[in-house]
């Protein structure tokens, strides 16, 4: 197991290297000159040139990339082009917001998706199953940010049950942290809830038709025990994959919702950085996202092993 973890983490290094090369290349291909933005309202040609020189924009691309890579290897992702803010500081400020949002959304995905999937899968064709299928179709069709706006209007502005956004640190006030994140996390989770529901429904339907389930029933076990102990554990393997993939989707989807709810997470940071062509920040956000996704995929793989001894043996 340890070997597996170490091998997977080592594989991340070349992946990060390739990703950084792509990000750097894309950032250089996209037109834009941070020097003009930094020069501001009273820009003069001389001032722009001064700034360009200071930023190293006049260096050959390979030299610029070299600086970037060197920084990564020395644990220093550099400083924003626009301020003295360290990239790591920007990331560590924004990351808790996005992780809170995505984490709570993932919690909702599991909390709602699994019971819905179990109910629909264990009673296929029933009224509940059909109703959940309709709701699922709506959930897939409606984009998260639109749901977010509707939630703000209904539960934030009209009913006033929840704040309409902004972020409160979990250490500052855990209850307010939760309350401020309920609406965006719920909006973000919907597509995942639908995915998990559909996946588990299909998986449960297949599993419940297996011989060992029939045997369990023949032994006289209660339906609850059959579903939860025998069928669910096996049906859950493909669901774990879906949940694992949700981490990537949730982090990506968080970008739009962060804006709608006024949350300053990685998404907001990335958009600002792209607008400004603030390469060190873009690079930092992408590398961090790759790391989060890699780690989440690794966790999924490890969960397989826990759920299925056959995988572990391999």
């Amino acid at each position: 197991m340890v070997k597996l973890i170490v091998r997977r983490l080592l594989l991340t290094i070349p992946l990060l290297f390739v990703v950084s090369l792509i990000v750097f290349g894309l950032a250089k291909l996209v037109p834009g000159d941070p020097a003009v933005t930094i020069a501001g309202d009273s820009a003069t040609i001389e001032r722009i040139e001064e700034i360009r020189e200071k930023l190293g924009e006049n260096d050959p691309a390979i030299v610029q990339y070299g600086h970037l890579v060197k920084g990564v290897f020395t644990g220093d992702l550099g400083t924003s082009l626009f301020s003295e803010q360290k990239v790591t500081k920007s990331l560590t400020t924004a990351l808790p917001v996005t992780l809170s949002l995505a984490g709570l959304a993932l919690f909702f995905v599991v909390l709602l998706g699994i019971p819905f999937g179990l109910i629909a899968g264990s009673r296929p064709g029933s009224l509940v199953d059909r109703a959940l299928t309709v709701v699922a179709a709506l959930g897939v069709a409606a984009p998260g940010y639109w749901i977010g706006i509707i939630l703000i209007i209904v539960f934030g502005l009209n009913l006033k049950w929840f704040p309409t956004g902004l972020y409160v640190g979990i250490t500052d006030n855990p209850w307010q942290w939760f309350m401020h994140l309920v609406l965006p996390a719920f909006a973000l989770s919907l597509a995942g809830v639908v995915d998990v529901t559909r996946q588990l429904r299909g998986s449960m339907r297949d599993t419940l038709q297996q011989d060992y389930v029939r045997t369990a029933r023949a032994k006289g076990l209660s339906e609850g025990l059959v579903i939860m102990k025998h069928a669910f554990k096996n049906a859950a393997i493909p669901v774990v994959t879906v949940i694992g993939l949700q981490v990537n989707t949730l982090i990506g989807g968080a970008i739009a919702l962060e804006f709608v709810f006024g949350l300053s997470g990685l998404g907001a940071l990335a958009v600002r950085a792209v607008q400004n062509r603030d390469l060190p920040i873009i690079q930092g956000v992408v590398l961090l996202s790759v790391l989060v996704v890699t780690v989440s995929n690794l966790l999924v793989d490890l969960t397989y092993g826990w759920l299925n001894p056959k995988v572990r043996a391999q």
Binding site: G40, S42, T44, R47, S83, E84, F259, V260
Partner: protein, 542 residues
């Protein structure tokens, strides 16, 4: 969705890059008929005698401000930097001026009044400007504010982001601890106005004494402002507390201030509606809805929308062609169409109520008349299938406005080929590369009207991509830059402004306004013609 979101953030970048200034310049606009708060005007204060009327902030009778209260404000962007020498956007000041003080202050009508400088006077020959400084002022770190601090700050700001604004200042002399003399290498009539903005922002000299402290200054201000920053999370939040030693005791009316940086207009409005804010800046499209529940303060600002012409391009160097283009625009219709009826149609660069405004310029100097314009274009030898390559920042508001202008001009046979560009790319494309015949965009106000005239109509700055100038206009602009008393300067600026309109240098559409929505708890807030909110004497009730 994402486009909409990017719009808001990008507006700041655009304005920073193309020389704009006002936060909502594009979207927050007001019509003549809908101006809720009239601003009054007077000429700028330029002499010691006139400036002596400094009075501390007093809170008007009415609701009682909770002196222990917390004012919660949201703005769309925070400061680009807390280091005055690095502040590059005019968006910086609405948040930065809580923590920083500057040499000259502004009245709501954009007239100058004493700030850290109690008075100022030009030498009789205009070769220098002498500032008398306020006594007993301290920076947040306890350092005394004096002439040496002013010299150090101005020299740094001139070497940094304020290079253009402070260009007329050649050297600075400390006359005595409370007197500083700015020697002017070129006409510096605009300098007192300039000192009311970022260039006149004073940081403690200790904060930029060495490289380490200078770096720290970028992320934590050490000013002499009415509030002191307690916590700053870049692009997210600024938490401030009253600075007990501030010279104007009534200014910091609230004990604490929390500023939330929220890029999205709806996020700000929602935060206001759900009770998390006391005041937020809003856009024109939100005014009517928010008016039902909140106190909306809005008034004209110096910011405007225009079609800037590159007059070095074919036909655009001809007066009659430019006049014809001006007659192909139905300005009141644009205000209605693009600005929800908020904003003022105009054909001059300075808004009504401002000392640069010239009442002698007829509002109907270029009436909408496609037929006549067509004849004029024909007479000027313009081909029937004439097209103009028009650069437009790729943001909903600008595209809406540009499309409306395109439709109007089509009636006169002029085909505008709109070229939407990434907002950040606007300045490099139109100004630096000199690509495109025209640019439809915002032009933010400047602290002094001569700065606008210099930027757009003299050959030096990048904001005049074709470098096209006219001898008479250049003369008038030189006169507008010359030091003088209020009356003389107003007359000179107005004369130059009239020449700009007479020569149809560009096609000006409308003046925008800055709009703010506040809960009834907010007390003392006023619209500022600068378009940048100021919070002296603003607080909340219990």
């Amino acid at each position: 969705m994402r486009r909409g979101l990017i719009v808001l953030g990008a507006v700041s970048l655009l304005v920073a890059s193309c020389g704009g200034s006002d936060s909502n310049s594009a979207d927050d606009t007001t019509s003549d008929t809908k101006v809720a708060q009239q601003v009054t005007t007077a000429a700028p204060v330029t002499t010691a005698a006139a400036a002596a009327s400094a009075a501390p902030t007093t809170v008007a009778a009415g609701p009682v401000i909770d002196t222990n209260g917390t004012l919660r404000f949201s703005y769309q962007v925070g400061p680009t930097s807390w280091d005055p020498a690095r502040m590059s956007s005019s968006f910086d000041t609405p948040t930065a001026f809580f923590a920083y003080d500057r040499l000259v202050h502004l009245t709501p009508g954009a007239d100058l009044k004493p700030g850290l400088a109690e008075s100022w006077e030009f030498a009789a020959d205009g070769s220098s400007l002498t500032l008398k400084l306020r006594k007993g002022v301290k920076f947040h770190d306890g350092t005394d504010f004096d002439a040496a601090a002013v010299k150090a700050n101005l020299e740094r700001n001139k070497a940094g982001a304020s290079k253009g604004e402070l260009a007329p200042v050649s050297t600075i002399d400390v006359v005595d601890p409370l007197t500083v003399k700015l020697n002017l290498g070129s006409p510096g009539g605009s300098i007192p106005g300039v000192l009311s903005d970022r260039p006149g922002t004073m940081a403690s000299p200790k904060s930029f004494a060495d490289e380490a402290t200078t770096k720290a200054l970028d992320l934590m201000p050490v000013g002499a402002g009415m509030y002191k920053v307690k916590e700053y999370v870049k692009d997210q939040k600024i938490v401030l507390e009253r600075f007990a030693d501030y010279w104007d005791k009534g200014a910091a009316a609230a004990a604490n201030v929390t500023i939330l940086i929220l890029t999205d207009n709806n996020a700000r409005a929602n935060a206001l509606k759900s009770g998390e804010l006391d005041i937020a800046n809003i856009e024109a499209s939100q005014i009517d809805e928010l008016k039902k529940t909140f106190t909306v303060t809005e008034g004209l600002s110096l910011s405007l929308m225009h079609m800037q012409l590159n007059r070095s391009k074919p036909f655009l160097d001809k007066l009659e062609v430019r006049q014809a283009l001006n007659m192909l625009v139905d300005r009141p219709a644009l205000v209605k169409l693009a600005n929800f009826g908020y904003g003022a149609p105009t054909n001059q660069y300075f808004p009504k109520g401002y000392w640069g405004y010239n009442p002698a310029i007829p509002a109907d100097q270029y009436p909408y008349n496609p037929e006549k314009a067509k004849e004029m274009l024909k007479a000027a030898g313009v081909p029937a299938d004439w097209s103009l390559d028009v650069v437009v920042p790729n943001l909903t508001y600008y595209l809406t406005l540009a499309q409306a202008v395109k439709d109007q001009m089509a009636a006169g046979g002029v085909n505008l080929v709109l070229r939407p560009v990434d907002p950040v790319q606007t300045a490099p494309i139109f100004y630096v590369q000199s690509s495109g015949d025209a640019l439809i965009s915002v032009f933010g106000g400047r602290a002094d009207p001569a700065q606008l005239l210099n930027s757009l109509f003299t050959s030096g700055p990048i904001q005049n991509p074709g470098k096209h100038t006219l001898p008479k206009l250049t003369e008038l602009i030189t006169a507008a830059n010359a030091p003088g008393d209020a009356k003389t300067r107003a007359a000179a600026v107005q004369a130059a402004s009239k020449e700009v309109t007479d020569q149809a240098m560009n096609v000006v559409f409308l003046h925008s306004s800055a709009s703010f929505a506040a809960t009834p708890k907010l007390v003392g807030f006023k619209a500022f013609l600068s378009g940048k909110p100021e919070f002296q004497g603003v607080g909340v009730t219990k």
